[in-house]
Amino acid sequence: MTRIAIDPITRIEGHLRIEVEVQGGQVTDAWSSGTMFRGIEMILRNRDPRDAWVFAQRICGVCTTVHALASVRSVENALGITIPDNARLIRNLIAGSQLVQDHVIHFYHLHALDWVDITLALKADPGATSTLAQSISTWPKSSRTYFKGVQDRLQAFVNTGQLGLFANGYWGHPAYKLPPEANLLGVAHYLEALDWQRDFIRIHAVLGGKNPHPQSYLVGGMATALNLDNEATVNADRLSLLTQLFQRGQDFVAQVYLPDVLAIASFYKDWAGHGAGLGNYMAYGDYASDVQNVPDTFFFPGGLILGKDLSHIQPIDQQQVAEYPRDTQRVSEKGENA
């Protein structure tokens, strides 16, 4: 029996350690541990509840904004505050654009290197990549010349012998299933998505002042000042920028992200059987169409699925949510593990 520890797990937010026990080539047991603690819950105690969202937002800078939103909502819920309808719309736009941007970043910049072998992209025929790209999407950046340019840039990078973030990767491992032309497509869109995410999330700057960690929440509403005729507020010009940003976001998702997900998934169909867990799933849902933030009005409805029974979605009973700190790593006052 062998015990393997993988620490750090990279391309996630946070500090994660995975230990697995392997017997006869099979994983027989596994443990996961978060190895960093800040104590934001303790730091928040006894503070002004109007300030709480600024603290809570710092739980995560990758999925920024969502913890701030949860925090203002919980204070509003406790105090019975109803927010203005414009505040609801702005919150939905901020949260919705976060969801879209996070999906794209997660796919290309966090997860893709588990599927895309960048070294194989060097062996691709740019013409074949162009044919592949045009067969799955109408995205205009799909010529042979374009992919040749990406390949040349990658080759120049590799020729320096300094592989940086890509050094010591698992390149050439048989678990990589993509043909060379799909790998080149993946590399090209990894780079395009780096530019896209920077552009798209300007939505947060328009409505929240900045990203990461937008700064326009208020308990009771949003500080985002709307006045079509004023230079210093969200005005007609800003709304027009928002429209463009949403349009560009939608184009990229429809013409690059989704076709890539489907194309890459077609080479990794066996992965669909991984990670089902116990088959119990919960999603709270979001994007209220009513200022009361009632689950019934959510654009993305929530619900509970038990035992993989997709035909029967049960309502969530918040009272049943509990914390089980049994397996928390505890440290005695002397600093010894207890």
């Binding site: 015990r3 520890a5 620490d7 750090p8 990279t10 391309r11 937010e13 500090h15 230990e19 960093m36 603690f37 800040r38 104590g39 303790m42 730091i43 105690r45 002004d48 300030d51 600024v54 603290f55 710092r58 800078g61 990758v62 920024t64 910049h109 040349d152 840039r153 120049a156 990078f157 320096t160 300094q162 940086g164 973030l165 050094a167 010591n168 990767g169 780079l191 780096l194 530019d195 995410q197 920077r198 999330i201 328009v206 409505l207 929240g208 002042g209 900045k210 990203n211 990461p212 960690h213 326009s216 929440y217 208020l218 509403g221 500080a223 000042a225 709307l226 006045n227 210093a232 507020t233």
Partner: protein, 398 residues
Amino acid sequence: MDLDHQEEVLKDGVWAALERRNISRRDFLRFCSVMTGALALPSRYTTQIVKALEQTKRPALVWLEFQDCAGNSESALRAGHPSFADIVLDLLSWNYHETVMAPSGKAAEKSLHDTVTMERGNYIAVIEGSIPLAENGVYCTIGGRSAIDIAQEVCTNAYATIAVGTCASFGGIPAAAGGVTGAVGVSQAIPGLRLINLSACPMNGANLAATLVHYLTFKELPATDNLGRPLFAHGDRIHNDCPRRAHYDAGQFVQEWGDEGHRQGWCLYKMGCKGPATDYNCPRIQWNDGTNWPIGVGHGCVGCAQPGFWDTMTPFYQALPNVGGFGVEATAEEIGLGVIGAVAALTTVHAVGSVVRNQRAKKREGDLSRTRAEPPQAPNLAATNEATWKWPNEAEEE
């Protein structure tokens, strides 16, 4: 910009090198002039920035994350000129960065180890997140080693260290009142480093890009203030550069969220804006490719570039005391004094409040967690090594 001279430099072979990197000439010229502007350098330095790219070997950089939220990593991804792709592919050898690097576990550790041993004294160490010193560093471990243990090795062997964000610079949120992890910034954890603090929560990716280009161009870090922050980013008070400053001087204040003043873009001072006590280039460079900034959207500054802002600048919606009374005629010195007084007053008020709260909390539930840990001390290196915390059932990875 001295275009003729630049033309000559380009003919000297720099251009060939850049073409190999597939950077278009237009992009490159734009990048160099934007950088010259960001660093507030005279335009003749554009040529020097051009030259800096001539080198064939890219300087190495490692980015370590400790008690962080990865917000500064994300902010680096938002840098526009140069972009993150330009930085990691063309300007630097970005060898270790957990949020974006390909390898995990031992393979990742090899990337770090190789840089520290083979580039000793020549690489840049970037630190994101605070370093917890309580309980022998148990509150943040990577690969079974404590953050302080890793930071000692990596920072002391680097050419220079860049602390990104207020957590790495000054302790930040984990060091706020109520925290128990003994969190400190890099300068307190490891005194004596060649260090620059890019504070703010998160730091603006544009300032990181400018700092890196400064290093590449001049082979040294930019000049700093007494808190170790670069003057180009922290040399001016937000209040002095604020586009809404005229409203302050004219006594035009937002009195209530959503009132007429709020809709007219008036001064947010009375809504708790901490711009009068915060040094940052937010109003000038703004965020996300210069799209906007918090005051621009209608919310006050929370003072995130200042040390201890989680305690000294809260409650966020309470107006700073003792700032009023100076207008355009007041001298910079007087303004500075007023602000120091205001911050000191806030610190005192908060300290008193904390004590009262602590006593109440203790009475209520005898809760040890509210008691602030002992003021963190930089650990004795030998003692730390001896007592390096081990994960239970520590096993070697294959």
